[in-house]
């Protein structure tokens, strides 16, 4: 992950009990900016405006929560995740 992108992120953690789901926690003051960038690049499938955005990018589906958390599911490994995050936030 590039340092410019890392600047958006507080923490990345695996979810308890749910196989390959990964939660990316964004910095609070960067989350709106991140959402703006993501919405330009990812495809919006469904939304409760201002609360949740159900999105896809390439083969990955993920949900962006207004609280600044993104859940990625089915991501193969950390390298793939980093590549997707870079593509979305750069």
């Amino acid at each position: 992950m590039s340092s410019a992108v890392a600047d958006y992120i507080t923490r990345i953690e695996g979810t308890c009990g749910a196989g390959s789901d990964i939660v990316v926690v964004l910095k609070f003051d960067k989350k709106d900016q991140a959402l703006e960038k993501i919405l330009k690049k990812a495809t919006l499938k469904n939304t409760i405006a201002g609360v949740i955005y159900d999105l896809t990018y390439e083969q990955s589906s993920f949900r962006f929560y207004a609280s600044g958390k993104i859940i990625f599911r089915g991501v193969e490994n950390k390298q793939t995740l980093n590549r997707i995050i870079d593509a979305l936030l750069l």
């Binding site: 979810t15 308890c16 009990g17 939660v23 159900d54 949900r63 929560y65 609280s67 859940i71 599911r73």
Partner: protein, 369 residues
């Protein structure tokens, strides 16, 4: 706690100055308070620990030092929190005793028949939760303790989910050990309780050594070693400086809970739970886990069709509602439920019907998503 740190803060059982004596007095009064709260015979049966997990580790490691050996068996249920599984698995590998697991029914109830089948004369200790942290189901501990004792076994009860929510009387239940955490009952984190019957605690060897837990450490110049004798109960099991302020905070929380009344707290939680379940039954995408009709505390475990538990929790979080997601440190029970994870709503004395209504509105919104 602020008052303690501002006016009485010192280490306990060491100094003779006024602050040390005041701190010691408050710490030991807290022990008395806990003893009365669970109706222990004596306050020396109350050991302060960091929480439920440490309490179980104390028992598992201490019994392992002298009492559990190859050929012995420990009986645990599959509904246990990992903290009541892992310490036994670790010590079993060290000391060679065997662990047997009691099955749980598909609706999350302890399989009593299986319990009776698996308890034998080899069973030295039975370890069960009083209330499941996943389903809120209440086990009939009095009955299970009777069965355990009839087989010559002792019983350790994980009261992390019962002591904060209902009246618990160790003499009435006739349990040998009861463990619970302060942070689940309005108290600060890092303080918990190991209750043990005096005669058992007296026989047990402490597994943590240090200051406070010893009477004498006398160097023998001939053998070039130290002769050590243990302190009396309860200090024998409290090595090092304890969480003094935490104990004071726990006692303050207990006094508050007692003022509200544990019967009232249980009734309030059960009313909220029933109200929430009735509302959630109207949501076609919601599935419940664990019996929703049996005797249970304020816990509802559920899932939403097409959504992971983490999505449900994050959606609720977006509306300011905090629920847990994951397997709640009870993976074996989730295996029985054939689940990767679940969402869990839990209620306490401070929750209201208005909050449940809001929760139900949010769930409706999630269903529409």
């Amino acid at each position: 706690m602020v008052d303690f740190y501002e006016n009485n803060n010192a280490n306990v059982h060491r100094g003779v100055h006024t602050l040390a004596l005041e701190a010691t007095e408050m710490y030991e009064q807290s022990r008395e308070c806990v003893a009365k709260f669970i109706n222990a015979k004596e306050s020396c049966e109350i050991i302060f620990v960091r929480g439920t997990t440490e309490a179980i580790n104390v028992v598992a490691y201490s019994l392992g030092l002298n009492d559990l050996k190859e050929g012995d068996e420990v009986l645990i249920s599959l509904m246990e929190h990992h903290s009541n599984i892992v310490p036994w698995e670790i010590t079993a590998k060290i000391h060679g005793f065997k662990i047997n697991y009691v099955d749980v029914t598909s609706d999350g109830l302890l399989n009593i028949q299986d319990f009776e089948n698996k308890i034998t004369s080899k069973t030295k200790i039975v370890c069960l939760s009083h209330v499941s942290n996943v389903t809120g189901v209440v086990n009939d501990i009095k009955k299970l303790a009777k069965i355990a004792h009839a087989h010559g076994a002792i019983i350790l009860v994980d009261g992390a989910q019962s002591v904060p929510h209902m009246p618990v009387d160790v003499q009435n239940l006739d349990v040998d050990f009861l463990v619970f955490s302060g942070h689940k009952m309005l108290s600060p984190t890092g303080i918990g309780v190991l209750y043990g019957k005096k005669e058992l605690l007296q026989k047990m060897t402490p597994f943590q050594g240090g200051g406070e837990m010893i009477k004498d450490v006398i160097f023998d110049s001939i053998t070039q070693s130290c002769n050590i004798s243990w302190n009396e109960l309860p200090w024998k099991f409290e090595a090092g400086t304890p969480n003094i302020c935490g104990a004071v905070g726990l006692a303050t929380a207990i006094n508050y809970l007692k003022k509200v009344g544990m019967d009232n707290i249980l009734a309030h939680e059960q009313a909220l739970t029933k109200y929430a379940i009735d509302g959630m039954k109207n949501l076609s995408k919601v599935s419940f886990y664990g019996s929703i009709d049996s005797n249970k505390c304020g816990i509802i475990t559920f899932s939403f069709a097409d959504l992971s538990s983490h999505d449900v929790a994050l959606l609720c979080d977006s509306y300011g509602i905090a629920i847990r997601s994951g397997y709640h440190c009870a993976q074996p029970l989730h295996q029985i439920f054939k689940l990767q994870s679940s969402a869990r709503a839990s209620f306490y004395l401070y929750n209201t019907i208005e909050e449940i209504n809001r929760f139900l509105e949010v769930l409706q919104e999630i269903q529409n998503f």
